[in-house]
């Protein structure tokens, strides 16, 4: 877009980049905020269906589409309360920190090849690190609220999230190791092709570590059964006990934003990112080199793919939330320190040894060796221009995979 503004419209470079940044930021912010609204509505409906109820049925038509919006308006109109003994500045600051942390991480999250706010060569770590910042908002909220229940919630959150960052980090490192890159675009692009190329099915260790990742991700975004920071039957509402109106809704939005983020991350790292289970586009002869419109179309479908996967992840979290009881704090820590961390470490070592033992995957063609396509994707943000690549049909040694095409770099 910046190129278009500079070359075609003729704007100065700084202005073009600023406009581009603003447009990208607005897009991300609105898409995610809108997504959060949809997820809140979905959660209401799903919870209702699970519980044999109907959920919202009136607001905005038959299915209560506008329920979240109506809620938002209600929250806007609510009185903004602050406890008398609260630390005013921190109390006001806390929701924005949580919100910003959750939404900042989307900068580096690619929705499809090149559909990314800012392609970073350390994208994975950026996302995980920024997501980890969310806990500061929660701790501040609990500390500044001058409420004992809030303080308990904040303490729990601090203990829990900091502990779960460790196994979460280890889980994230495995796809990074397999792909040989920390760039989320590269990691996802390496899983192109058939469903067997997804890192989930790369080897038994990645399969196991995916489930460890799911557990840790649920825990790090404070969803049931790990929602100890806001455990309503114990801590009233935990860290956001004293919050009301818009500030409270910022926490809420941050929670749903984070949920979507960790699900999208799971999709990118383990579930093939924007690549579908069957390489339809490649089979139809639509590859990166076919042309701009087709190219764009393919990416749009890829974007839909990723959104679908991430949404499924969010739905899974909702399903779990409305089914399981909550764990106790010591059990949460036990799960992390005694189960998740050792399993993640063992699986990490296992995946590493597997790479050494079977550099090209067990059966060639089922999983592609990383080296084959590595160089092409590491040439900085934006990758290669379409003209420099061409699909080379590769006959799979295993048979039955003949139609698979592997993108190779033309020397």
């Amino acid at each position: 877009m910046a190129d278009f503004l500079i070359n075609t419209v003729g704007l100065p470079e700084w202005l073009a980049w600023t406009i581009t940044a603003f447009v990208a930021a607005a897009l991300i912010l609105n898409v995610i905020a809108g997504g959060a609204l949809v997820f809140i509505w979905a959660e209401r409906k799903i919870a209702a269906r699970i519980q044999d109820r109907l959920g919202p049925t009136r607001t905005g038509g038959r299915f209560g589409w506008l329920q979240s919006l109506a809620d938002g308006i209600k929250l806007l109109a609510k009185e903004d309360l602050m406890p008398e003994g609260a630390d005013g500045m921190l109390f006001r600051l806390a929701p924005y920190i949580s919100f910003c942390a959750s939404f900042c991480a989307f900068i580096a999250l690619p929705f499809a090849f090149d559909f990314v706010g800012q392609r970073l060569n350390v994208g994975v770590f950026f996302v995980v690190a920024v997501l980890g910042l969310e806990v500061f908002g929660v701790i501040l909220a609990g500390y500044a609220s001058a409420s004992k229940w809030s303080l308990f919630g904040a303490m729990r959150e601090a203990a829990q999230v900091v502990s779960y960052e460790v196994p979460l980090g280890m889980c994230v490192v495995v796809p990074v190791m397999l792909a040989g890159s920390m760039d989320l675009v590269t990691i996802a692009e390496k899983q192109a092709g058939w469903i067997t190329n997804w890192y989930l099915f790369h080897d038994p260790f990645t399969f196991v570590i995916f489930w460890v990742y799911v557990t840790c991700a649920v825990a790090s975004v404070n969803r049931a059964p790990f929602d100890l920071a806001e455990a309503e039957s114990e801590l009233v509402a935990g860290f956001h006990t004293e919050y009301s109106g818009l500030r409270w809704s910022f926490f809420f939005m941050a929670e749903y934003g984070s949920m979507f983020l960790v699900s999208a991350l799971a999709a990118l790292l383990f579930l093939g990112g924007w690549n579908g289970p069957i390489p339809v586009a490649t089979l139809a002869g639509l590859s990166e080199g076919t042309g701009d419109t087709a190219n764009y179309f393919v990416r749009l479908i890829g974007c839909g793919n990723l959104l679908l996967k991430a949404t499924l992840g969010v739905l899974l979290m909702m399903w779990v939330r409305w089914t399981l009881p909550r764990l106790r704090i010591d059990q949460v820590m036990t799960t992390c320190l005694k189960y998740c961390t050792p399993i993640a470490a063992a699986m990490f070592a296992g995946a590493m040894l597997w790479q050494l033992a079977f550099p090209g995957g067990v059966v060639r063609g089922l999983s592609r060796p990383a080296g084959e396509i590595r160089e092409g994707w590491l040439e900085g943000p934006g990758g290669l221009s379409p003209g420099r690549r061409e699909p080379v049909p590769q006959v799979g040694a295993a048979g039955g995979m003949e139609s698979q095409e592997v993108v190779q770099v033309v020397p």
């Binding site: 044999d52 729990r156 114990e234 009233v236 399981l324 106790r328």
Partner: protein, 402 residues
């Protein structure tokens, strides 16, 4: 104060000694089952002492009873344990009948069993669902309420009210069942039976549920007896006592000829009259899980009792009989009767001077004794265990404060 805390042997010592914090759990707290206030003395997440404060729902029900005739007081018993109002009506009616030496008709007797056991199911459903809520799972609560709603519909059809029934009254019941009621009741039982398996899947045998309840709040049989605990709380500790079997003859006569086994662990196993899920290995007799499980078992056994009562009631061709006059004089003397309410043994005591209005009315609440043991059970547990323990006692504040 500092000196006092240091010398207090009940405080558990840890490596790092931090400041203690007094926290008020309630009376406006989501999981205190009404308006109970628990003062927690906490060291981080660990609760060193719990002190229950009651009285927020006190409505002078007993004093009011000394100004009303026995039948007029029935609606006030409704409001004691509002989740099992039928059983409350029954307890008071039987106590008055004991003093009057009144014998209800056979038909009324079976109808009372039928209604009381339905009330027990409804009460245990709330206890079960709310316990799930205490442990952080919302869905079983609504599943329980869905079924309870059907019982309330049946009750509404029988007596017109959904919560405060005043159906069972001194000298019988206010009305006979409407036509077609028994069929609907049987339909409900048939439909309800498989649902219990869902509850077992979602709660009783759920791994997280077992983790949260097993070996938590363990109450020894001695402790339970010492504190006067009763009902499922007592039986959860392995004490074999049920007023329906061990009570006074006026009450046990009601259950004459009914086959039921008291839901209690005897010789290391629970009754085997139905296919119950196995007891998880990490539970200890007297813990939260066993108290909960006893309730689940009682639901099934109450269903059996309801089925038997339906058969016997429909076989009775005699008249239901009219309840006593509203201003019926009660013979001078006193009477005390304990009945097996869903929450435990509910006792009613009345002293009469020969007039229609009792001279003295007192109620012995099972929830009160069951709650009294909280501070023993909660010593040294985590904050999250406090709702788990209090919830497993299944208290109703209306009954405690009266």
């Amino acid at each position: 104060m500092a000196q006092l805390i240091d010398d207090d042997p009940r405080i558990i010592e840890f490596d790092v000694r931090t400041d203690e914090m007094l926290v008020n759990m309630g009376p406006q707290h989501p999981s205190t089952h009404g308006v109970l206030r628990l003062v927690l003395r906490t060291d981080g997440e660990i609760v060193s002492e719990v002190e229950p404060h009651i009285g927020y729902l006190h409505r002078c029900a007993e004093k009011i009873g000394e100004n009303l005739t026995a039948r007029q007081w029935i609606p006030y018993t409704d409001r004691m344990d509002y989740l099992a109002a039928m059983n409350m009506n029954l307890g008071w009616s039987l106590a008055v009948e004991k003093l009057m030496q009144y014998q209800v008709s056979e038909r009324a007797r079976h109808l009372r069993v039928l209604i009381a056991e339905m009330g027990r199911i409804a009460s245990h459903l709330v206890g079960m669902g709310a316990y799930g809520l205490d442990l952080g799972t919302f869905s079983p609560f609504l599943y329980a309420f869905r079924e309870r709603e059907k019982i309330l519909d049946l009750f509404e059809e029988a007596c017109g009210a959904r919560l405060t029934y005043s159906y069972i009254t001194v000298g019988g019941l206010t009305a006979d069942l409407p036509p077609g009621w028994l069929r609907k009741c049987e339909e409900f039982l048939d439909q309800f039976e498989p649902v219990i398996q869902e509850y077992h899947a979602l709660l009783t045998t759920n791994a997280i549920f077992v983790k949260r309840t097993a070996a938590i709040g363990v109450m020894s049989p001695e402790l339970a007896i010492e504190y006067g605990c009763s009902g499922p709380v007592l039986r959860g500790s392995g004490v074999d006592q049920d007023m329906r079997r061990d009570g006074e003859s006026i009450y046990t006569a009601m259950y004459d000829g009914y086959a039921f086994e008291v839901a209690v662990m005897k010789n290391g196993h629970y009754p085997r009259d139905h296919a119950y899920p196995p007891v998880p290995s990490d539970t200890v007799i007297g813990d939260c899980w066993h108290r909960f499980f006893v309730r689940m078992l009682e639901v099934v056994q109450s269903m059996d009792l309801v089925r038997q009562a339906i058969d016997r009631y429909s076989a009775c061709k005699g008249p239901l009989g009219e309840p006593v006059k509203l201003t019926e004089k009660i013979p001078a003397g006193d009477a005390y009767l304990e009945t097996e309410c869903p929450k435990g043994q509910m006792g009613f005591y009345l002293v009469s001077d020969g007039s229609a209005i009792p001279w003295r009315v007192r109620a012995r609440s099972s929830s009160f004794s069951n709650l009294a043991v909280t501070h023993e059970l909660c010593r040294g547990c985590l904050i999250a265990d406090v709702p788990a323990i209090v919830g497993s006692l299944d208290i109703v504040m209306g009954e405690i404060d009266r």
